[in-house]
Symmetry: C2
Subunit: 264 residues, 2 copies
Amino acid sequence: MTRRAEPGAGTSVTSKVLALLEAFTPDATELSLSELARRSGVSLATAHRRAAELVEWGALERDAAGRYRVGLRLWEVASLAPRGLGLRDAAMPFLEDLYEVTHENVQLAVREGLEVVFVERIAGRDAVPVWTRVGGRFALHATGVGLVLLAHAPAAVQEEVLGAPLRAFTPKTVSDPAHLRRMLADVRKLGYSVSDGQVTVDALSVGAPVFAADGSVAAAVSLVVRADSTQPSALAPLVMAAARGIGRALAGGPSRVFPAGRPR
Amino acid sequence: MTRRAEPGAGTSVTSKVLALLEAFTPDATELSLSELARRSGVSLATAHRRAAELVEWGALERDAAGRYRVGLRLWEVASLAPRGLGLRDAAMPFLEDLYEVTHENVQLAVREGLEVVFVERIAGRDAVPVWTRVGGRFALHATGVGLVLLAHAPAAVQEEVLGAPLRAFTPKTVSDPAHLRRMLADVRKLGYSVSDGQVTVDALSVGAPVFAADGSVAAAVSLVVRADSTQPSALAPLVMAAARGIGRALAGGPSRVFPAGRPR
């Protein structure tokens, strides 16, 4: 489900450096030099030279066994991404409130191309198991957050998703384009989405859009609960209120939410 | 307080690419092309060419006004850093518990060189204001997490910190090396740190070490409360228990904490 450029597709040094970073995936977070070279489609010598530069800067680190992994320094720079931790910081107080009131799974996601990227999740210890990974991706047409993001995506994005085969994760996944189109219209009309057993049969997710100041949808928030535990209509106001709060915080700008200075 | 390489210090293309990324800082998350070029020490033409490659890959994004910012794709790759979100994912259930019990500020940090890097924070809405930024840095000798990380750092790191001028953030900051050395010995003996008014006068922080399987200190956890609200000795067991839980989760490996598959 992860978008990957063709290994070594670019010939520029920049693209080789990026290919090295792209060699790391959720199921391969630590790589030997030869794995790194193979996965990024460059020679062993090139991988060795570039990786040494990346290690020196801190974009990569080496463990005791000499294996490479993504470095904390890259994570620090990446934490400045407005759509990553920037969004997450603005949203966190509202996500916390949602969690405290429900003790269910709370998720925050954005659309990247034709997929959902999860930016934050708070997992209730006793809530229905949800194995979303922060930084992980998923299809747009099945999850609560995905349905919201798809419903408010540009027409071209919707057509591309609806025009491709829609994978059925469970018997309840809506994989008929006409049916999905009606669902998306409902999401826009009601102001929230419901994904009932469409990813795993035992879970129900209610999602709502976070509007940016310009009226576009910047993100989506959801609650995920056991499929038989609650009526979606009871959860929707909670999720929508949290989404509105996050939208307001975003409009105020990150500097209002987290003034610079005095950490401790 | 941020470590910065000399702009354009390296002459390789790799170092120029990294210099472009490093141009972004907490107080400059969106940059025009000329700002990007100036801050990274490369020519306008070079900045333009490299930035275009970074935008194409998704390491940078451009906003409606054409300004550059760190892209979500870089954040996705960086989320694979074991010391960033990897640690954070393992720690989150324990941080949540700590927050639910206290409703105070909960922080998770690691040492990077001579500084603290904050990996997670959960902020109580009514708790004493703490303006730590996830991904942000701070001095080792003042904060609760910093004192823990310094107390357990290699001797060479301790000597370097103690040998340099120790900035006094408040009148209570310990900036005398001999006094600080005794404090660090206490941190090791007691198993927790106390930073009482040493960063801001109204806040008190209690920190505890997260031990890795090899016995080294991988991270530190802290609670930050109002300076006059609680005895540190009452908070210490809570913080230490959370730190031990995180250490156990780390030893079990990320795959045990977040099995792959079925996100929703």
